[in-house]
Amino acid sequence: MRQGNASRPPKAAARDAAAPAFILFTSGSTGKPKGVIHSHEFLVHQADAWSGGVPIGLQDRVSLVYSCAFAAGIISTFVALLGGASLYPFDLRARGLLEFSTWLADKRISVISMTSSLFRTWLAAVPKDLRYPALRLIRNVSEPVYSDDIARAATHLGDSALVSQSLAMSEAGTVAVHTARPSVPRDPGVQPVGTPVRNMEIRLENEDATVLGPGEVGEIVLRSRYLSLGYWKDPETTAANFRTDPVDPTLRLYRTGDLGRWRSDGDLEYFGRRDRKVKVRGYTVELYEIERALLRIPGVQDTAVILDQDRPQDPRLLAYVVATGEIALEGGKYFRELLAKELPAYMVPAYVGVLEKMPLTSRGKVDRSALPPPPPRDARSENYRAPSDEHERALAQIWETTLEIPEVGVDDDFYELGGTSLQGFLIFTAIAATFGHDLPPTTMIDAPTVAKQAELLRDPSRAAAPTQLLAFRPRGSGPPLFIVHGAYGGIMFVREVVRDLKSDRPVYGLLPMPLDGKHIIPRTVQSIAAGYIAEIRRARPHGPYLLSGYSSGGWIAYEMAQQLMQQGETVSFLAMIDTVSDQWKTDANEVSTDRVKRHLRAVQRQNMFRIVPYLAKRITGTIRHHFNVVKRMFTHLPNLIRMFTGRPTPYTERRTFYYWLFSRAARTYSPKPFAGPLIIFSSKGQSEWHKKRSGPLALGGLTVKEIPAKHLEMVWPPYSTMLAEAFDAFLDPKAG
């Protein structure tokens, strides 16, 4: 009991049972002590409530392990003295738990009151065969009690002993108690705190002050005559928490700020402070829900979940568990995986620490400040590789600050780390500031890792000269696979295919030549292929070569194979991904005499009266056809000009231009038969057609593998997986 500076001692014995008897200072959740004023009649009420109706009499020896400055200490003292029992103080901090265990037996203590955390640590310290025949009541308070604790206590107690768990608080003393023999069967996990004590009504209310029934979680509101008189010199907080009952003015109401739930059997479950509701990335999280999920894991004895505010804009959840048995050897990851099955991702703690025992404060509550500090913000990826040189270290640092992720590994992919365009841009800004030269923003597409970007920074010539080769997989033991872009010039699908490709070899994508006005734009498949060969020889000077191409890019790969073989190289693999054969050519090859004959035959077959409309239709058709040719010439005039002059193409026109250019090149390309085996990955339903058209070209045999998707979809997920499987089957036929 703290007095003196806070309150004047009473001048005489109390004249009124409802007058203030003492002021109790609590630490308060904010750290600023609050003085809780209690009346004389409060103490008398507690004498009965404290033990949950179990009478405390002359024969009892009550232990006192807490200072009288705490509610637990002062109330125990008065309860013992009012009942006529003897009080046995014990200084736990000075003498320790082991001595406490034997002291309890020596002094034949019959009643102990302690926090459940202390109860648990004490049980762990009690010598196995020590019995307490005199002990008839163990009173647990403040924190959750688990069925395992009680079962363990039972081995040290006599048959008639009782164990109680109660809900108590500085402002109202003990308000609910559950008392039972330890041998009575009970639900596993956290034990309920029982039913209200005499002269105490407990209500559960939601935020709208609606009274809740069983099964719903709400704030615990007390209605009684024996509540605290209020806070010392703090009328505002007093008014906020206490008010007079509107029905019976002799009673008052107290909003506890604690959460509870009625079970269907009438017992109250206690869920902890309401202010333990926290916000994590905008999601509201009740910490007790996480604690309960942890406690449901068999072997978990005790747990504490806290919010780590070291970075206030991005707080994270930390959990600590005390576990017994085999799972005590498991790491935090084990618990996180189990939680992830039960809870949404935002409720899974970023870290779970496994402790031997919970650190406790002098009041016997979990000492949150003494919990071991968590590791630096976590989530190293599974294949984490640490930066190994100055470039990588500096880059990793830039990535970590920009993406707000600790420990970025050098092989971590920017997009899988959740990077956005803006963050990508910020990274390049920081790179420019740190290294003094710019990487083009497109770097994030072909070099999405710290390692790849460091490589570019070590050898600036590579970064400066835009290359047409994109290393989608830079490492591997076999010879590399080269994949040529599709008709629109796009190559990003290779990223999806490579993700599922098992074949152990590097994979490069070939980009079309840039349209920056500085490069000559080749017009034919032959000249395009010649340029690409120069590109792939930079990565791999000599064969054997493995080539592939998507859509009209297939013809470029085909032509590259031809040219490479003429240059004396080996081409061990050639696959075209749904490359359309030159269907336009058949009509163009039809000589004009044939066409006249065809029309004459058609005219002959017609009825006399139909000839005129038939001819009219043909003639308008021809006119329309030629009109379209002229129109197309005009629409493609800018493309033609660009192609012949090499002027730069605006970004917005790039894809149309590439499409025009590559379609045009493919249309005018006459493939010569290929000496080696040819593979075609066909789109849905096109296998037969491919066999018919391309069969004659493949002197070394044609294999067609059908992917059940349309032309545009077959290279993207989910079909990219099938395409990767198809590649694997042909690249490493033995492995399959």
Partner: protein
């Protein structure tokens, strides 16, 4: 059949050829029940699983649930039946049968929030950014085109942060509408000097319209749509 809210159904009926609808989605309140997650296809789940931070994965899933619900509502099909294909630059677009509505959409996701823009037959791009408190001075000079930088520097210190993220959202929305990623340097895109239009490399782009979208506090968003006339932009809050 999933029943849409009256607001959603009404909005879907109202979308005309000159309209742009933008849905402002709070991902914290997006549905995550098992039935909703059933709507997603394997690829979407796989992409969520590939994200290293499980929170990103979770928000990705939530965003796609909302996307499917809303697209389903506009197309009058079940959310699960909405089918996407990837364009050659990897952006998702709708697979629609012949004679169907020609609905175009763009989805943008940031921490805790998403924006979905819809139009009939017009190329569209939307971007939403969370306004963070990172240092911006060096970034602004690199990201903003000259007229934008001039405007930005003329603003009082307190107004600059929101302005930067708004301008960035416009640029990003334009690049998305074009179907380009980082291929165009943001500094080449000027969203300020032509009043609702865009200049790319100092050339006026007549065919594009840009408009800011008012979303929840702490976020900036903009939408860009192809077309000569100013679109009528309506903003809805999900659900």
């Amino acid at each position: 059949m999933l029943s849409w809210t009256p607001k959603q159904a009404e909005a879907a009926d109202q979308l005309g050829s000159g309209d742009v609808h933008v849905w402002d989605i709070d991902l914290h309140s997006a549905p995550t029940d098992a039935a909703s997650l059933e709507m997603l296809d394997e690829e979407e789940r796989a992409r969520a699983a590939h994200l290293r931070n499980p929170l990103h994965g979770e928000e990705f899933l939530r965003a796609y649930v909302c996307l499917r619900i809303l697209l389903g509502c506009y197309l009058k099909v079940e959310p699960k039946a909405v089918r996407f294909a990837k364009s050659l630059t990897g952006q998702p677009h709708l697979i629609q049968g012949a004679g169907e509505s020609g609905l175009r959409f763009s989805l943008s996701r940031t921490d805790g929030r998403a924006a979905l823009a819809l139009s009939k037959g017009r190329d569209i791009g939307v971007d939403i950014e969370r306004i963070t408190d990172r240092g911006l001075s060096d970034v602004a000079t690199r990201a903003l085109a000259a007229p934008e930088l001039h405007y930005y520097r003329a603003l009082p210190e307190a107004a600059r942060r929101v302005a930067f993220f708004t301008i960035w959202a416009r640029k990003e929305a334009f690049l998305k509408a074009l179907g380009e990623g980082l291929a165009i340097a943001p500094v080449e895109v000027d969203t300020i000097s032509t009043g609702g239009r865009i200049r790319l490399s100092k050339k006026r782009q007549r065919g594009w319209r840009v408009q800011d979208v008012k979303v929840a506090d702490g976020y900036a968003a903009a939408v860009v749509v192809r077309g000569f006339f100013r679109p009528r932009v309506q903003i809805f809050t999900f659900p």
